[in-house]
């Protein structure tokens, strides 16, 4: 079996240097009942110009990982091992002041529920002033910063008059998400991390956010990492995909490989089959049997084995490793055995 060398027009443009890298990253949560490992030994590298999608179901650790990529883990969580490298610099060994300068100015994060990431009693315009004030190194002249923000608002299809003098509560959900994206870009970061940017939006606003992110990448050259549970959004936006299951990365591959290659993790196939597709008549979608395991009751061996149609004895004993074949890394015993035979 030949691994698909599907270099799409989009993938071809994204073979830049590695901007952001996680090396064997683990995140632990110390709870009264014991320590849970939410992210377990995950490595990933994001190249300049990539749109990197982190995919998985609720509770698989994808949002925790997105926060950990800027060394932000909410208590009682801690980064228990590994490191994050931003253009080769270790984020774990940065001082608090270095981190403060780095976040937003080099890597910006748009958290899930952009709705609640604004101060409700201060106008959007005043919140912009706070950001510019805190980072004089980026915009020594604040007027230029304001002008740049107006330009960004235009890019996210809003007008300054619609936004600046208003409070968060006066904006619709879709508008808030786009204002949050404009905010994230105002200090000209080279990497933008978004947690569930399209969740809780209707289809019209989803489309708008997808188009806006595509624009930002093309016009500002910003590298994008986004977290989602929706493979349809991945298909529209991503160049590279990392699929997570129960805290582990189970497949990392270019976009077309995830959707069309023969060499895919059974979980990826199951996720794809579970989507009702508007372009197909009839009830063709099928749900994944069983549930995501609780992180305090992980099964031995492969974590997906209890729900997997390919599971065999080895899967219930040994944890499979990610094995890379021409840029398509899969962690699955049956799939990888198949690969070595061919």
């Amino acid at each position: 079996m030949k691994p698909e060398s599907a270099v799409t027009a989009e993938a071809a443009t994204s073979a830049g240097d590695v901007v952001l890298e996680a090396r064997n990253l683990s995140v632990d949560f110390a709870l009264p009942a014991g320590t849970l490992r939410a992210v377990d030994d995950v490595s990933l590298s994001v190249r300049d110009g990539d749109v990197y999608a982190l995919v998985g179901e609720s509770g698989c650790g994808k949002s925790t990982l997105a926060g950990a990529l800027v060394n932000l883990v909410p208590k009682p969580g801690v980064i228990a091992g590994g490191d994050i490298l931003l253009r080769g610099r270790s984020m774990r060994s940065m001082t608090a002041e270095e981190l403060r300068r780095t976040r937003m100015a080099e890597v910006a994060v748009v958290f899930q529920a952009a709705m609640s990431s604004f101060n409700p009693v201060v106008t959007i315009g005043a919140q912009l002033e706070h950001v510019l004030e805190a980072h004089p190194e980026v915009w020594p002249d604040r007027r230029e910063g304001r002008r740049y923000f107006d330009h960004l608002l235009e890019m996210v299809r809003l007008s300054p008059g619609q936004v600046l003098g208003r409070f968060e509560s006066q904006l619709s959900g879709g508008m808030k998400q786009r204002v949050a994206i404009a905010f994230a870009c105002v200090l000209k970061p080279s990497v933008l991390i978004l947690d569930e940017p399209t969740t809780a939006l209707d289809v019209i606003n989803q489309r708008l956010v997808i188009d806006v992110l595509r624009d930002l990448r093309e016009r500002l050259g910003v590298t994008i990492v986004f977290v989602t549970h929706d493979l349809s959004v991945v298909a529209e936006l991503a160049t590279t995909v990392g699929v997570m299951y129960a805290g582990r990365m189970v497949q990392v591959a270019p976009i077309d490989t995830i959707f069309y290659s023969e060499r895919r993790h059974p979980y990826v196939r199951a996720l794809l089959e579970s989507i009702p597709n508007v372009l197909e008549p009839g009830r063709t979608a099928t749900s994944i049997p069983g549930q995501v395991p609780r992180m305090d009751r992980l099964p031995p061996g492969c974590r997906f084995a209890p729900r997997c149609p390919l599971a065999e004895d080895a899967c219930r004993k040994d944890d499979p490793e990610l094995i890379d074949d021409h840029g398509n890394a899969v962690a699955c015993h049956p799939v990888n055995r198949e690969g070595t035979k061919a």
């Binding site: 799409t8 027009a9 299809r157 549970h229 929706d230 529209e236 996720l271 979608a285 749900s287």
Partner: protein
Amino acid sequence: MNALWTQRRRRAPRATRSVESGVEGSGVESPALVELDGVSHRFRARDRPAVDGVSLRVADGEIVAVVGESGCGKSTLGRIGCGIIEPSGGTVRFRGTDVSGMTGREAIGFRRCVQLVHQDPFASLNPGLPLRTTLGYAPMYHKIVSRRELDDFLLDTLRRVGLDASPEFLDRYPHQLSGGQRQRVAIARAASLNPRLIVADEAVSMLDVSMRVSVLDLMLGFREDAGMAYVFISHDLGVVRYFAGDGRIVVMFYGVIVEEGATEDVITRPGHPYTCSLLQSLPVPDPRRARSRREDRAAALFTPAGDAGNVGDAGDGGCVFRRRCPLATDQCATAPPASDLGGNHRAACWFPDKVAELSASVLGAAD
């Protein structure tokens, strides 16, 4: 006392009602299960009505999907249909009887027969009550089950929605459940009363994509067993095509119905530019198709703002969609009549031919 709306303004005198139901019951046409007749609703401090003169019939056992973006009035319509919101104009009839005049047993019966499943399972279950109370209150109130039989009844209810049917599970609180489990509980609560109609308001949109199909299948299974009707409110035509494949779609835009017809007709031959834009906006799980659709879209690009600012002014008499519509001309300052596209498929647009062209470009990529 048991009036349906506490601050009820009686609209139709009782005599008129009985005449109406007499006519409907005369065998000319069987009365719809629930019928909305020209209903409108305006929330206080809003300049535009959320629902503006909408008529909708739901027959026994039918699936009607109400589709549109946030703020289009689809949830308000659903709430009017199950008697939670009193419309500021128009009538709601249940089996031919105006619900505004219902009192006592009749009102309680209507309440039992029409159930609502909310969008957000994190908000629709009382966090301070164990599942036993959440699930047990309504069946006891409606005397579907006696206190002695309650536990067996609840375990059976849990089994039917695929949850752990153990007494310990009944003692759990909502925070101990996952999102998917909570939505199953919300559906169990509605279905355990043997309703004739379930209004499902975005019942799966808060769930992971991978969970949606199993919850939809669950709801379809209830219909197979008990034959209830569904009003399925959603903005996702993919989910709608799956759930309401053999039903009808009603497309709403800012308070009015712009298109209605059989599900397959509306999706494969949309008759209104807004329906085309909903179809175009929906992401498809297929990168190659997404790319080719993107190229097609450039030709007929909509500029949806998703903001109320881009809507026709309330009551100016024009087409509500014209501010956003790529086909709009001066003619659209007059509201278009619903044109018949055959087979009970209707759309309110002046230019059915141009919409056909537009929809061909939407569907060209869809094969």
